[in-house]
Assembly symmetry: C2
Homo-oligomer: 229 residues x 2
């Protein structure tokens, strides 16, 4: 009856967490530590058993609740194989299909660039793009194994080739925007829609952003699914 993504927000880090709500089971993507109770309450109200907790990458701006959710619900944790999140029992590679509920399929698309291991998840025409492709933007590529060149190839070859009506659900937005489509980003994304690889790399390498405030805490914590390490 449901089969829809539910978007939840963390106002401190401007992070979006997603519940993929199917019939009897759900999947969480990129849950944030301090919202663990909120997320569990949503699952309870929806009457859904948590099948998996997925990470799109190792986040530098917030700590995941994946490990705690696993402890509390028995859900499995799944992370991209290239992210060094060793305690996740499911290590995902490009082309993998993760199954939940009766016959739901989540397709794994490896999209290096924001980090070398970053992936996107595709479910029922909804792309959960992590920090790879943002609404009218993209993730930074200047730390944590980031590569502007790799991100350019990932977006133009693996995301902009998806059907245009594919809904784009990013891991962050800082301007009150919730959702976009592949078609719109392909035509209008101010960083990626009509820029050559060379221009893009130059742009990204000159952003001069400060490091994320929580990076030194978040990255090692997330490598352990947010559990004490």
């Amino acid at each position: 009856m449901n089969f829809l993504p539910i978007q939840l927000f963390d106002s401190e880090s401007s992070t979006y967490t997603y519940i993929l709500a199917a019939d009897g089971e759900a999947v969480l993507i990129d849950p944030v530590d301090k919202h663990c109770e909120r997320d569990l309450a949503h699952l309870e109200r929806l009457g859904l058993r948590l099948a998996y907790v997925l990470e799109t990458h190792n986040h530098a701006d917030h700590v995941t609740s994946a490990g705690r959710l696993r402890q509390l619900t028995g859900a499995k944790t799944a992370a991209p194989s290239g992210c060094g999140i060793a305690p996740a029992e499911v290590q995902l590679n490009h082309g993998d299909v993760l199954r939940f509920d009766a016959s739901e399929e989540i397709h794994v698309i490896h999209t290096p660039g924001h980090t070398a291991g970053s992936v996107c998840y595709l479910w029922r025409g909804n792309l959960f793009s992590g920090d790879t492709l943002l609404i009218d933007g993209c993730g930074r590529t200047d730390f944590q194994s980031g590569s502007a060149e790799a991100l350019y190839h990932s977006v133009t070859e693996r995301l902009f080739t998806l059907p245009e009506p594919t809904m784009l659900w990013p891991a962050h937005d800082y301007k009150g925007r919730s959702v976009s489509t592949i078609g719109w980003e392909k035509r209008n994304n101010s960083r990626l829609s009509s820029r050559s690889l060379e221009d893009f790399v130059q742009l990204m390498n000159n952003l001069n952003l400060p490091p994320p405030r929580l990076m030194d805490v978040a990255v090692p914590a997330n490598r352990n699914l947010g559990l004490p390490h």
Copy 2:
């Protein structure tokens, strides 16, 4: 490809606005004046033409952008017939079905109580409940033709009788909750799940809430779809 509700938030009044995204057309429910540009940008990114703007009732806590959206997009405005929103060209009654996109149907459920004219909208197993039924709560009934007795009947006879997995999308939440289900509310809503009519009426008539800050501005403005009057 889409056919899903998108939930947008106004943090000032804690109001949820909904986009019902179908294939080529969309409907907006309870849009807020200051987010008009945000909402139009979403429609543009999704590549959807706005077919209707719906109000669940005459709001006392924010001003609608329905009139302005009609001017800017040519969408039709629709409001419950009992809400005194005369300039809305579609006046909705209990049992009406509003059609959009190729074959999408929105069912109108008259649920007096928060206001005498309040309605809920049902689309594809999603109930947009306005201020009638909130997550673990309900709308106040102490002004604007409100009636605790009517609200009790509306919720118990017209909403709690819907299929249990029906998703509940309220017009407000003040505690970071996004969505619930009819089943959960029927069993757990602290105001309505296991209270007699008499108890409920007594509870509601003793809440002693202050009037909404914007009431004297919002109610007359909303009667005119938010346009100057």
